[in-house]
Symmetry: C2
Subunit: 335 residues, 2 copies
């Protein structure tokens, strides 16, 4: 299955195909110097499979985990590009999860003011969500994604075979983003997940999620308006993620974050689906910490915060409300 | 005098007017939180004049000079944005020369993936060249502008009155960029400079230079092709700048860099103009060092280097040649 993210000069293909990893050169221009970026949590063979297809390649591996998503890891990628004398016609390929994609993407965006970037997401979360759309960033001073760019990849290859090596917790966390897309844009996808067919129809789940996301990104590449709906579950989610010290996975936090933003009549269907995926629906954490993390959340604009609500399956609305009002609403998930 | 850089959604005005500094709020939306960035070489009153017009302002001052154009100064700007809890609707205003503009622009580009950026250039070089066109960057690992972005300002205000406090060497260095634009795009401007009318007609010199640059940027915002002509004199210029340890000013290096790239029949007219402006026309430096700095220059694409030549007044051509061939050609300026 192939789809295109239509962004004029910056359009690119997203290919979902078993075994595509070993045919990357059919889709990416690897006949040049290539920085292949991966992390210690990704089976080494994936990066090597891509590297083998390049005219010249340098593999850079950094330690797995959100803690690596920082300025110094980003500088280490720039060091590699500089030391190996990459030019404007060379490129970067990310082979890994969301952190690898974000770090590689922002390094490619900034090096020489931008060189080509390709993404081969190897976690379900990255396949379903973060590899598409061009948001790249690093964490800084305790704030998530506070330094970055909108920088589209030139292509994304999604190989569902790599999910075989993914542990079940990571897989569930990825599914949370599919639930998110389903809730706000694709009622049929939600029903598929509700029937418990998510695992057996994983390619369809990925395709539908990416397709829904692409249509949003095409209308609002730099998050001036509509694209904010993709933050459904994320405002609170990021707060929990920071407050938990990253002991909870991003997808788990998004699962929690969606609940209070969902119409009460729909909330039980949502939590039933989340529970069936072994995702959390209650969080027993420190409310003070979450609120403090959220007070600095970048979705805040002045004194108001724009929340994204799901009033009915497949639909969503944006609503600017007072920050304090939002805190009231989310208290029930924090219990 | 006002002109527009036409880049669709990213279009912006450039206003050239005496005293405009104290009327910045007429052109910039300063009714929000504003980070005013300046350096120790800029009279303090300029940043304060802008800050006074803001709803809320924070002035950040870093040490003047190319040595400040680095990752750690850039991070200090991000620190200020983070500490003062700037949101996506706040903005950054640069008040200073090219280094201030570059650092502020890249901080604005990266913070929250991009917030509004305005530029008030206070050196002739920045007024004539670097404040317009959206190239922002920092130096890293000894390479000039190797980490950065294409990020357009929302507006540029040029106040020729501030040039009164500029020393004559800085002023001459700025004039070198006007000579550059004249050489490749505006024969009439060259003739004006040749008649020695540059100082008395400084507004016209700025206007014509910016106008010529804007027309090039509009056709090729991200330097995929045509925009490279603006690097006339810069490939060798950057090499000399690095090799001199920044004892020579950027404009002085550009002056030197233009000479070997100019048709021999035109070269004497060029050097006569440069000499009349007290700009150097010979460089007694270490050829090895210049070559080594240039070998990493980002204008190199693979093994070829694209040089920009001026075959006749107001005209230019791009020519990919072997790096070694280029070195042969430039030797005469190095004597």
């Amino acid at each position: 299955m192939t789809l295109t993210v239509n962004l004029g000069m910056r359009s690119y293909p997203v290919v979902i195909q078993r075994g595509i990893l070993s045919r990357a050169a059919d889709w990416f221009d690897l006949d040049r110097k290539v920085l292949v970026v991966t992390d210690s949590g990704v089976p080494r063979i994936y990066a090597e499979t891509v590297a083998k297809q390049c005219a010249q390649s340098v593999i850079v591996t950094f330690p797995a985990g959100e803690e690596s998503k920082n300025i110094s890891t980003w500088l280490s990628l720039l060091d590699a590009l500089t030391e190996h004398e990459f030019t404007r016609t060379d490129c970067v390929v990310a082979v890994g999860g969301g952190v690898v994609g974000d770090m590689s993407g922002f390094a490619a965006a900034a090096y020489l003011r931008g060189i080509d970037f390709y993404n081969v997401p190897t976690t379900l979360l990255a396949q379903i969500d973060s590899s598409v759309g061009g948001k790249v960033a690093v964490d800084y001073k305790g704030y998530k994604n506070i330094v970055g760019a909108f920088y589209q990849p030139k292509g994304v290859l999604i190989d569902p075979d790599v999910l075989d090596t993914l542990d079940s917790r990571q897989r569930s966390a990825g599914m949370a983003e599919a639930v998110k897309m389903a809730m706000i844009r694709d009622a049929e996808l939600f029903e598929l997940l509700e029937r418990g067919e998510g695992d057996e129809k994983i390619e369809e789940v990925i395709y539908r999620s990416v397709q829904a996301k692409a249509r949003v990104v095409e209308q609002d590449e730099t998050e001036g308006g509509l694209r904010q709906i993709l933050n459904f579950g994320h405002t609170l989610g990021h707060g929990i993620e920071t407050a938990s010290g990253y002991t909870l996975l991003h997808g788990e936090c998004v699962a929690l974050g969606m609940i209070p933003m969902t119409a009460s009549g729909l909330r039980e269907r949502l939590t039933t689906v989340l529970k069936a995926m072994d995702l959390p629906t209650k969080y027993d954490g420190d409310a003070e910490q979450i609120m403090s993390a959220m007070a600095h959340d970048k979705k805040r604009a002045g004194d108001l915060i724009t929340v994204i609500r799901c009033p009915a399956l497949g639909e969503c609305i944006l609503q600017p409300i007072e920050f304090e009002e939002f805190l009231e609403e989310i208290r029930e998930v924090l219990r």
